[in-house]
Symmetry: C2
């Protein structure tokens, strides 16, 4: 295995500061950084898919470099592992490795593993350090950065969890070569989200370069590093989501509602696809409210379509539920504050903002039109 020098994105969170390493085949450099954390023993959590593809090589590299890794904790692949039951088993399996306070949990996998293992690390022995090794594009550009961890409840997605910052993130972009095309596309929805939030330039660059990002050229590293930097900037301003961090939820209020309606069935809809529809909807809703040009909403939708992402309620296989069902699913979202609806809307590409106290009737009317369009 060749090892190259990674791009380094610092996340300056004071006592909880950490670095994100981004690049192709950077495991060697990653292991050096892990050794600097001064751990005695490592509990590695991964899922069945990642385990068969990557775990052996990674554990061997760690062991060859003198890091004591316990037998890996392997959970079933898929969103259904973000459950109370799998959390309980993961915590018990970590405890069974006899890691102690001050030791390390490594989350090797996509967003599900990162959220689950990160949450387990937050609560086993009332908090252990952990390192994210994200293996999906979605996890590399979004869920592994910022310290949000958690599981789903029957009441909604990510409603149970903790803010627990990793000690290090190792985003090896070569690992994405083994990712199914659909997963890559889904992660890409979060990449262009950063352009839509506050960088028209990055969105335009994505329109030009998306094929190289998918193909694994240096543009992929650039896109991942830019996304991490963009997210880190927001997280540093608002670690515990009392304000600005909500911007990162662009496309997610609609998106989470859809995921809830399909009961997190990945066969029908994965998170990034729900976000893609949510992004397109956020822009169409903004245009409908006269906040942004219809042209911008059209451009967002066109780009999402060109990479093969869904953009409409009608694109949800098996249907997206009634307007009432979607509204109800939205009001149990964490972003609800004192009964009013909060949305992230846009005045144009790269000009998103937090809109409080939105009129529920306006949302309902918009959804009705979406259904009839």
């Amino acid at each position: 295995m060749t090892t190259s020098k990674p791009l380094i994105v610092p996340v300056p969170l004071g006592a909880r500061a950490y670095d994100i390493l981004v690049g192709r085949n950077i495991l060697g450099e990653g292991v050096e950084q892990i050794k600097k954390l001064g751990v005695r023993k490592v509990a590695l959590v991964t899922d069945e898919n990642v385990h068969s593809l990557h775990a052996e090589r990674i554990i061997k590299t760690l062991a060859d470099n003198g890091v004591d890794v316990a037998a890996p904790v392997v959970v079933p692949a898929g969103e259904s592992s973000k459950s109370y039951a799998v959390l309980a088993k993961t915590c018990d399996d970590i405890l069974a490795t006899r890691v102690e306070r001050g030791d390390l949990v490594i989350a090797l996998g996509g967003g599900v593993v990162g959220d689950l293992a990160g949450f387990a690390a937050a609560i086993v022995r009332r908090g252990m350090r952990f390192v994210q090794m994200p293996t999906s594009l979605l996890a590399q550009v979004d869920s592994s950065v910022g310290g949000k961890t958690g599981i789903n409840s029957s009441h909604g997605k990510n409603l149970v969890g903790a803010f627990h910052q990793p000690s290090l993130v190792i985003a090896d972009t070569a690992i994405l070569d083994t990712l199914p095309e659909r997963e890559l596309r889904a992660g890409y929805a979060e990449v262009i989200k950063y352009g839509l939030i506050n960088s028209e330039r990055f969105f335009f660059w994505c329109e030009e370069n998306w094929q190289q990002i998918f193909a694994g050229g240096p543009e992929r590293d650039e896109a991942v590093a830019h996304s991490c930097r963009a997210k880190a900037e927001v997280v540093v301003r608002d670690e515990f989501e009392n304000g600005d961090r909500a911007l990162l939820n662009l496309g997610h209020t609609f998106g989470h509602a859809l995921e809830r309606i399909v009961k997190y069935d990945n066969a029908r809809l994965v998170h990034g696809e729900a976000v893609a529809i949510g992004l397109a909807q956020a822009f169409r809703f903004s245009a409908r409210l006269g906040l942004c040009a219809g042209q911008d909403a059209g451009r967002v939708e066109a780009h999402l379509k060109s990479v093969g992402l869904p953009t409409r309620l009608q694109d949800v296989p098996g249907g997206a539920g009634s307007v009432d069902a979607i509204l109800d699913a939205m009001t149990q979202d964490k972003k609800v504050k004192a009964g009013t609806l909060t949305f992230i809307l846009a005045k144009g590409i790269g000009k998103s903002f937090i809109a409080h106290d939105l009129n529920k009737a306006d949302v309902a009317a918009f959804l009705m039109d979406e259904w009839n369009s």
Copy 2:
């Protein structure tokens, strides 16, 4: 109901500072303080026993004072509720009340409810504020103060949890009048622990006044307030248990092992009883190592006995397991660091200290003698 002025013990933890109110019939004052927190809605968690004894009156008082309380979340009484399953149900039940971030969880009950509901508050919506209303002596003097929350794992007690400080603690000592004698005694083990840690004077005062503490005189309020102050001082020095806070574990390394061996069966051993045996053992072990006078160990044991608490392995109904079983149970304790044993030992009454790197063989020999004594 008459309402009196409480004693106030401040816990100065910076952004997480809070007050502990201690006194007889102080609910009225407590509600005033809750209102000052500016909450919209309250989810109250309690257990079946406390629910039938106290919940109705407390909910009515809150409601009469304009605090919106959802239907209470009621869990089974007893240590077995500190489980993954009851935690999951508690989180879901709290979510079902549709409380939002910024709202409040109230933990009304003993140590189990406080640990469980506090942990649920720590993780529902990635952290909600909560108020402790401890209804047992144990909870008033120990578990409700300091922010440790959590549940048990098959690997050991409190191995899964969070540091999550309450926003307020309301310790109504009149509520202890309804407590079974055994529970009062068990809580009292934690009271005298504070004397044994660093205040010979408080231990002597307890020897003189324990009957008034049990009877519910003003000495009870004094003992609870002193205990809270003593614990708060340690917690403020070391919120996340990286050092001094371990002193609070005096009697707990042996105690937790015994609880584990009886599988947390309260019929055989409640936490305070395990601590009582652990306290006596910590002093006998200290005496055996030549650290403290045998007279001190004798005096500790005599006082524990005089209030009716157990002090010997032989006092555990159904047996305390073999020496090997006890040792094994101890090494999975959170206080194990890099494979060596850490104990809280004493150079005398009120002169406890943290002893690192204890020789396991010495502990084994001590336990063997204990069995044969």
